[in-house]
């Protein structure tokens, strides 16, 4: 187990190096001279040369890459053009909001998907199954940003019962401890704050989670159907257990293993979905920050965010592999 994890961990190093190379090459391929962009058009050649020397742009590409890699490995991506702060500080400040949203989305997806999937599989081809499967397909086919806009239209526009943007109503949230508003408010006993946080959280989390919900529902259904035909299930029935017990104790507990994996795999999709859903709901997380950075052509911030997202993605995949190995001891590769 230990050696497997170590090998797997070492295996991610070349991947990370190559990723940084790919991002570096993309920056290099960007049209326009960065010195001209920063200095403005009417600067003298002398000034330009000086600036290029100061920023190391006169050195060979591989030296530039090495420098880029060394500072990126330390988490130093330079200063953001737009915010005039170190890139890492800007990003770290925004991460809790994204994590809070992603967590809520996963919870919503799991709460709805698993019972629906089990229910559909317990009565295959019934109306329950058909409706459930159709909803699953809807979830998969619906672009989350459009779903988000429609939720705003319905709940904020027509019914006017939920807020359409942001994380909190001004003045309600208390002191920042963990960065998770709902948790912070709960710690401080600020129940109005908890409620306010949840109200702001619900629509974006639903929009972001809809895709995962659809996929999880379908995976749960097919996994339960598969387990249903195992011999130990027949045995459980043969010894006279009531159907409900057979279903929940023998079928579902075994059927959930692939579901857990899919949750892990879909976390990556959720991560990139957050970029667009956060924009729709003006959610102040790292996803909407990326869009702001893109529009402001804030290249250091874009680079930092892309690398942070990618590292997070690689880390998630690593953790899934660990989880695999824990759940199923046969896996060793």
């Amino acid at each position: 187990m230990g050696t497997y994890l170590l090998r797997r961990l070492v295996g991610t190093i070349p991947v990370m190096v190559l990723i940084s190379l790919l991002v570096f090459l993309l920056i290099q391929a960007a049209p326009g001279d960065p010195t001209l962009m920063l200095l403005g058009e009417d600067t003298t050649q002398e000034d330009i040369d000086q600036a290029r020397e100061r920023w190391g742009l006169d050195q060979p590409v591989y030296v530039q890459y090495l420098k880029f890699f060394m500072s990126a490995a330390k988490g130093d991506f330079g200063r953001s053009f737009k915010y005039d702060e170190p890139v890492m500080d800007v990003i770290v400040n925004r991460i809790p909001a994204t994590l809070e949203l992603a967590t809520a989305s996963v919870i919503i997806a799991i709460i709805f998907a698993i019972p629906l999937g089990v229910w559909a599989a317990a009565k295959p081809n019934s109306w329950v199954d058909n409706t459930g499967t159709t909803f699953g397909l809807f979830g998969i086919s619906m672009p989350s940003f459009w779903f988000g806009i429609m939720l705003i239209l319905l709940f904020a526009g027509i019914l006017n019962i939920l807020p359409s943007a942001g994380r909190d109503t001004y003045g309600i949230a208390g002191e920042r401890i963990t960065g998770f508003y709902v948790v912070d408010s709960a710690i401080q006993g600020n129940w109005a704050g908890v409620r306010d946080g949840l109200e702001h959280l619900f629509l974006p989390a639903l929009a972001l989670g809809s895709n995962m919900l659809g996929i999880l529902m379908r995976v749960t259904r097919s996994s339960v159907l598969e387990v249903m035909h195992e011999e130990y299930v027949t045995t459980a029935r043969a010894k006279g257990l009531v159907e409900r017990k057979v279903l929940w104790r023998h079928v579902v507990s075994n059927a959930l293993i692939p579901v857990i994996t899919v949750v892990g795999l879909e976390l990556g999709t959720l991560l990139s979905g957050s970029i667009i859903v956060e924009t729709v709901f003006s959610w102040p997380g790292s996803g909407s920050l990326l869009v702001i950075a893109l529009n402001a052509r804030d290249h250091p911030l874009v680079t930092g965010l892309v690398l942070v997202y990618t590292v997070a993605f690689v880390a998630i995949n690593f953790l899934i592999d660990v989880l695999y190995a824990v759940i199923d001891p046969r896996i060793r590769y």
Binding site: P143, P258, S272, I276
Partner: protein
């Protein structure tokens, strides 16, 4: 099963017809602006603007029809290029094994290490808007699915009798891959291609929504949604119809893909990829 084919098929057919006939079906020029017809609500059959007009007085139905054309063009290009690259790399990787396989698979691993959409976003951000860059950005990760599945298949294909006999008759590696391996990978590629089509329509719309897709003068569903989002509280039809078009089209393609998979490759379903 049959309903899936009919439903999915007819949606896809409408989509293709609308895209192909574009200018003939659209009642108006999609870019024709008019101050007099600004923000008209859908008039259905009681007026010239069936689905209403947007903030610049442009006819929404016409823009949706032209948007179908753009989406169709991009999605087909993306699916074909990804399929081409993915199948060739996958077949080569599986057939040769060894160092070739190792190199290709390492490359797959690196490209796959980017969260979906993020690589496309980065490419668009650094290379700039444009049709070519957009297709490149969407292909960037989409060939991998083909590559992974076809690699596995060609691994097992190369041990089959017909490949071995072709080899003993003196066929070169290139001949074997082109004549014996790749034709056997077409079916599975078709299934992957259908789902890739659905996902590239959504990705294209996402990028356009963020202002990183095709140049703004070309009407696409994603840009229409982005424009309409601002007017959500006053003019709901601006955001509803383009999004609905994306949703229905993708739903149709997914239905068709489900059916196609059940017919062509029932193994995929049993293998647990049946999602």
């Amino acid at each position: 099963m049959r309903t899936k084919v009919y439903l999915g098929g007819s949606v896809v057919l409408i989509f293709i017809i609308a895209g192909a006939l574009g200018p003939l079906v659209a009642p108006f020029d999609p870019n024709q602006q008019s101050l007099e017809t600004m923000l008209h609500a859908p008039q259905w059959f009681w007026g010239p603007h069936f689905l209403g007009t947007d903030n610049l007085g442009r006819d929404i139905l016409s823009r949706i029809v032209f948007g179908a054309r753009v989406s169709l063009l991009i999605a087909f290009a993306v699916v074909f290029i990804s399929g081409f690259v993915g199948v060739i790399l996958g077949a080569t990787s599986g057939y040769f094994g060894g160092n070739v396989d190792f190199t290709i698979q390492k490359f797959v691993e690196v490209v796959w290490a980017f969260p979906p959409l993020l690589l496309a976003l980065t490419i668009m951000a650094f290379l700039g808007q444009g049709l070519f860059n957009l297709i490149l950005a969407l292909v960037a990760q989409r060939w991998i699915q083909y590559c992974r599945v076809t690699r596995g298949q060609s691994l097992s294909l190369k041990a089959r009798e017909f490949v071995i006999s072709a080899k003993s008759l003196g066929a070169s590696d290139a001949q074997i891959i082109a004549r014996h391996i790749i034709p056997n990978l077409i079916q599975v590629s078709l299934v992957i291609g259908t789902f890739a089509m659905a996902s590239s329509i959504i990705s294209e719309a996402s990028l356009s929504f963020l202002g990183l897709g095709v140049p703004p003068e070309i009407p696409t569903w994603g840009t229409m949604l982005a424009d309409g989002r601002i007017y959500i509280s006053t003019a709901w039809w601006l955001a509803l119809f383009p999004g609905l078009s994306i949703f229905v089209t993708v739903l149709g393609i997914n239905l068709l893909g489900d059916a196609l998979r059940d017919v062509l490759d029932p193994r995929l379903k049993r293998a647990g990829t049946g999602i």
